[in-house]
């Protein structure tokens, strides 16, 4: 992409809610991305560390895009830039081609109505009932009572809260509160949903429910979802794309299946290991027999993905290269609907044979990573 794209009104920007096209005097981007972030930089205190260090990112329409990172990695700052709750010091933000940083206050408020947001701690009004909470964004947008009532009645079933319409937030479980949060975020029919650690305050079972709900709503309402999380499990459960953040930068990015099966950066590997158990406990390694004289022992983690996930790789390698293979751990899992297996192997034999065996496996397209013994 050229540095300064000519101001072309992309068709996508007309899709933005609340007549964005009408007042669109801001330079638009020739981008097909739903969310386009370019070189975002943010430093909170002068001389302090960078919360965002030149982050660029494109989220395609209809995608569920996950950003994963430890606390302090900058992911929260990043997601808050997308609706300008946080203003970057430098960089560009375009939502459906509309340059948010060029908008004045009223135009920004209109643009925000096209971007729903869900929060870790739900952020519901304690003195408004479920219905009144969902009505809030419609009230501030100036809809009539009748319109609000109709819209709230329309949304409640989407999140399964018809029975709780008149309950107070304090009477709800965490999962129900987040359902209200999601309903409220979607009340003004946004095309973008931002999820700021939306499931981090929930138990695993409720987390799964809420993620399933978000995925279902994405399909039904054709939403584009950007979520941040510190749990790789969330990414595994619903994301199509993932970016890993560390120290204000995106260190790795790609399709979820690719990143899970072929993680490149050490941080990514640690994240992936949380979910698919790549690591072998040191106590298990200590119990493995030592190699015989003239032989070596190599520990490796092998990820089976794609066409070879059903092939008898271990016995073939053992037979053809004359090495003994001890399967230390193994499991088969599914990510983004694609099966893959992960196995920790201890291979024994002459050094050349072991190396050749591993090379042969790599040749098959398996990811072989040696584990420090």
């Amino acid at each position: 992409m050229p540095d300064l794209p000519p101001p072309i009104l992309s068709p996508a920007s007309t899709a933005l809610h609340m007549g964005a096209a009408m007042r669109d005097l801001s330079p638009a981007y020739e981008t097909t991305a739903a969310i386009h972030l370019d070189g975002l930089t943010r430093r909170f205190a002068a001389g302090g560390t960078l919360a965002l260090d030149g982050v660029s990112l494109d989220v395609a329409p209809g995608e569920i895009f996950g950003i994963v990172g430890r606390s302090g990695a900058g992911k929260s700052t990043l997601i808050r830039c997308v609706n300008l709750l946080e203003r970057p010091d430098a960089g560009r933000i375009a939502v459906f081609g509309q340059d948010l940083l060029a908008l004045d206050e009223p135009a920004l408020r209109a643009a925000r109505r096209g971007i729903g947001m869900v929060f870790q701690h739900f952020n519901l009004h304690t003195r408004r009932t479920v219905s009144e909470n969902i009505a809030f964004p419609l009230e501030i947008a100036g809809l009539s009572r009748a319109e609000i009532r109709a819209r709230v009645a329309e949304i409640l079933p989407l999140v399964g809260l018809e029975a709780k319409r008149d309950a107070w937030p304090a009477q709800l479980s965490g999962g129900q509160k987040q359902r209200v949060g999601i309903a409220r975020a979607l009340a003004s029919r946004p095309k973008i949903l931002l999820c700021d650690e939306a499931t981090s305050a929930l138990d695993p079972e409720t987390t799964a429910e809420i993620l399933e709900l978000i995925r279902g709503l994405r399909d039904r309402l054709e939403l584009t979802v950007l979520l941040i999380t510190h749990e790789m499990g969330v990414v595994k459960a619903i994301c199509d794309q993932v970016a890993v953040m560390e120290a204000g930068r995106i260190i790795e990015q790609g399709r979820v299946f690719d990143v899970f099966t072929r993680p490149d950066q050490p941080t990514t590997r640690r994240f992936v290991a949380e979910v698919i158990g790549h690591s072998v406990p040191p106590s298990t390694i200590a119990r493995l027999p030592p190699p015989r004289a003239e032989e070596i022992r190599r520990l490796a983690q092998v990820v089976f993905a794609g066409p070879h996930s059903t092939r008898a790789v271990v016995s073939e390698a053992s037979r053809d290269f004359g090495i003994d293979i001890n399967i230390v751990s193994g499991r088969v899992d599914e990510i983004a609907g694609e099966p893959f297996g992960v196995m920790a192997l201890a291979a024994y034999g002459p050094a050349a044979a072991v190396e050749a065996g591993f090379a042969w496996m790599r040749g098959l397209g398996l990811t072989v990573t040696e584990i420090e013994a």
């Binding site: 609706n83 709750l85 920004l108 109505r113 971007i115 408004r128 964004p137 501030i140 937030p169």
Partner: protein
Amino acid sequence: MSWLTPTMRDLLLEALWETALMVGISAAIAVVIGLPIALLLHVTAREGLSPRVWINRPLGLLVNAARSTPFIILMVAIIPFTRLVAGTSIGTAAAIVPLALAATAFLARLFENALHEVDKGVIEAARAMGATRLQIVTKVLVPEALPGLIAATTVSLVSLVGFSAMAGAVGGGGLGDLGIRFGYQRFMPEVMASVVLILILLVQGLQSFGDWLVRRVSHR
């Protein structure tokens, strides 16, 4: 109960009425003026919705100055102002002016604290939904702070009952004044005891009512 002559009873009732008048009117004024001041302090604070140090700093100083002046001194110090507002510097009406002033400063600070207690997340959510600053104040900040605002008003009502006892110094009357003049200066311990008893009941009643109201409006 031989001391409770009809005259004495009338004196007690009249004093109770004067106290109610002084506390009630000055509290009402304090709420009406104190809330906008508190909102202004809150909104213009460094982390507020619309940071304005040049408003926040002087206003905060003014509120603190009024709060740190002992009430008995404040009452005397603002006599010219009292005369301007109430037309007189003695009597119940004259006592209401300094009471309202002290209560406004006190309540502005308590209200500000109550506003500060509102969950920042709810305000952030409103911003994310495209709310204007005015909408955030009227539809989020004040409604969410309401239980705290009521609790603060209760506290200031109770304090006002105490302050109003000093109103005797400017001939404001009231229960405290009655206690001093009859109970203390005329050596009538039973009058003092009944004044104290009535004050205790009054404060208890106000506090219980305030607590009940807070429970009613909060849904935490």
